[in-house]
């Protein structure tokens, strides 16, 4: 009897949750479907859900016409580049703070976090002028530098919370056995730190990929990533929804898939360890 009620409850929750989940997901699903429609059917009223002439033409057009691949590779270069550079700077710092903490470590960490809270628009003008004078506007290097700096606090914090969980006893045992600092890092720390580093890498590629304030303001053509590429679809008033959808799907698909795999790390990374 009790089981029957709980099964009925379970089915009720299932229907409700799936309904809400599909409503929330609908804009993405709709974009996905529209990207396979001919332009005429994309704006059809009543809307066509599945009964349209499926086509890949939009994807072909977007690729051939608007340099999708250049923007895609710009996104890859800036997201991956800034994440790797960030890790290179952050790993030693987080390692030092996790394993040789001092009285000031907490203050340093808090201060680093506080730099993340600086609103971008507060430093837009000077960064723009400095970049103009150094000829970094619209260059990969410029975007990589900016993305590295804005995400560095998050990278350090995430790594710090992961490194904190590595048992210190093992490090001390290695030290007792006469391991040098280099050996300690290469043979003891690295294998245990790799999962944490991988999660950090994943989350930061997502954040860098979707960053839109700096990429929109500091790039025009050469280094413009997908955020800017999509924004360029906003100007003409024509109804090219199928092409917009195809371009959108290509811009979000890689990151959506990566994001689905990194849900747990997302919570930890974006709340700076305050919610685990």
């Amino acid at each position: 009897m009790a089981r029957a009620i709980s099964t009925r409850r379970k089915i009720g929750f299932t229907i409700l949750a799936w309904g809400i989940g599909l409503v929330i997901f609908f804009p993405i699903l709709w974009t996905f479907l529209t990207s396979f429609k001919p332009e005429g059917q994309a704006i059809a009223i009543p809307p066509r859900f599945f009964d349209f002439d499926w086509t890949l033409a939009n994807y072909e057009t977007v690729q051939s016409r608007s340099n999708y691949f250049r923007h895609f590779s710009n996104s890859v270069i800036s997201a991956v580049g800034s994440t790797l550079l960030g890790l290179l700077i952050a790993i030693p710092a987080a390692w030092a703070m996790a394993f040789s903490p001092t009285k000031r470590t907490k203050d340093v960490l808090m201060w680093m976090l506080s730099t993340k809270m600086l609103p971008a628009v507060g430093v837009l003008v000077p960064i723009y002028l400095i970049f103009r004078d150094l000829r970094l506007l619209d260059t990969h290097l410029g975007i990589i530098v900016v993305l590295t700096m804005i995400n560095l606090p998050i990278i350090i914090w995430m790594l710090f919370t992961y490194f904190k969980e590595i048992p210190v006893d093992i490090l001390e045992a290695a030290r007792m056995d006469g391991a040098s600092l280099r050996q300690e890092v290469v043979h003891v720390l690295t294998p245990m730190a790799v999962p944490g580093i991988a999660s950090t890498l994943l989350l930061n590629i997502i954040l860098a990929w979707n960053e839109a304030f700096w990429t929109l303001n500091l790039t025009t053509t050469n280094a413009a990533p997908l955020t800017a590429f999509i924004a360029s679809y906003s100007s003409p008033e024509g109804l090219f929804w199928a092409k917009l959808s195809a371009a959108s799907m290509m811009a979000i698909a890689p990151i959506l898939i990566m994001g689905w795999f990194s849900q747990k790390q997302l919570v930890r990374g974006l709340t700076f360890g305050a919610v685990k």
Binding site: K10, G122, V125, A212, F213, L266
Partner: protein, 290 residues
């Protein structure tokens, strides 16, 4: 001896990160502060001079500033209200036993990974278009007049788009907090005859209160600088109906080239964000055992 050596090594390992962040913070910020006291327009190079607080006076005297400030508060407040309430309800729902829980979670979290320019354009065109949009069709099916969203309710439209992007974030974090709730505590309350409402207000809500605060503060930091969504949908209009502080400063600096005035605005934005940041840092700091 060994510890002194490790300390030195530690200092060297931290140096690049600390120095870079220090430079990143101090150099541009002090330049913004300096420019904010200068009459400085990029269209008139070589004509800069010190003006004291004039830029601040102009900035505060500009009716657009007060409109932008109000818009910023409405935008942040509206999105927070939707995401916090909606996120709590959704997290409670997703915490229940059901079939295919993992897949529903994937569906709910997906919008968070969509880049801002994509979600804004998809909503603006395919959903909210007054003639061919999906919502317009829905309205007609139910016998209503379709709404021209960005003309009639521009700010509300932006709030909807941004709330759609941030609802997954709130849900995911609140769900994580919910799942750490002690099952026994819940059962004990149930045995004492607590109904679902009192269970929520006396057990669940206090348990997720901290997560709620964290979500609120982090979102506020990001929401204060909403930019791309406005740029690709309304461009701040109609008039200044959807111009927030970030967008106003963007227009003054990169479109009107008034560096001095924009810098004064930038400093105001920094001060506003700092007020929020202080509270967030205090909460995060309490949780940190370094």
């Amino acid at each position: 001896m060994a510890t002194a050596q490790t300390q030195t090594a530690a200092r060297f390992m931290m140096a690049p990160a600390v120095l870079l962040l220090l430079a990143w913070m101090i150099i541009p910020l002090s330049m913004t502060l300096y420019f904010s006291f200068q009459r400085y327009n990029l269209l008139m190079p070589g004509m800069e001079y010190f003006t004291g607080f004039d830029n601040y006076r102009y900035f505060f005297a500009n009716p657009n500033f007060w409109a932008a400030l109000t818009n910023t508060l409405v935008l942040v407040g509206g999105v927070l209200a939707i995401t916090l309430i909606g996120g709590t309800l959704l997290a409670l729902l997703l915490d229940q036993p059901m079939f295919g829980q993992g897949i529903v979670r994937l569906l709910v979290i997906a919008p968070f990974f969509v880049m801002p320019t994509v979600s804004a354009l998809v909503w603006k065109n395919m959903l909210m278009h007054p003639v061919n949009g999906f919502f317009a069709w829905l309205a007609r099916v139910f016998g209503f007049q379709p709404i021209d969203w960005f003309a009639q309710f521009p700010m509300f439209s932006i709030i909807m788009i941004v709330a759609w992007q941030w609802l997954p974030f709130a849900t995911l974090i609140l769900l994580t907090a919910l799942q750490s709730l002690d099952e026994e505590q819940r059962e004990a309350a149930g045995m004492d005859g607590a109904g679902p409402l009192s269970l929520f207000f006396y057990i669940i809500l206090p348990h997720i209160a901290r997560a709620l605060t964290v979500v609120m503060l982090i979102q506020t930091i990001f929401l204060l600088s909403i930019f791309a969504e406005i740029l690709v949908t309304t461009n701040g209009g109609p008039g200044v109906a959807t111009t927030n502080l970030t967008f106003l400063i963007y227009m003054q600096s990169l479109l009107q080239f008034d560096v001095g005035l924009a810098s004064a605005g930038g400093i105001v934005a920094v001060i506003l964000a700092n007020i929020v940041a202080i509270f967030l840092l205090r909460i995060v700091g309490k949780n940190l055992e370094a």
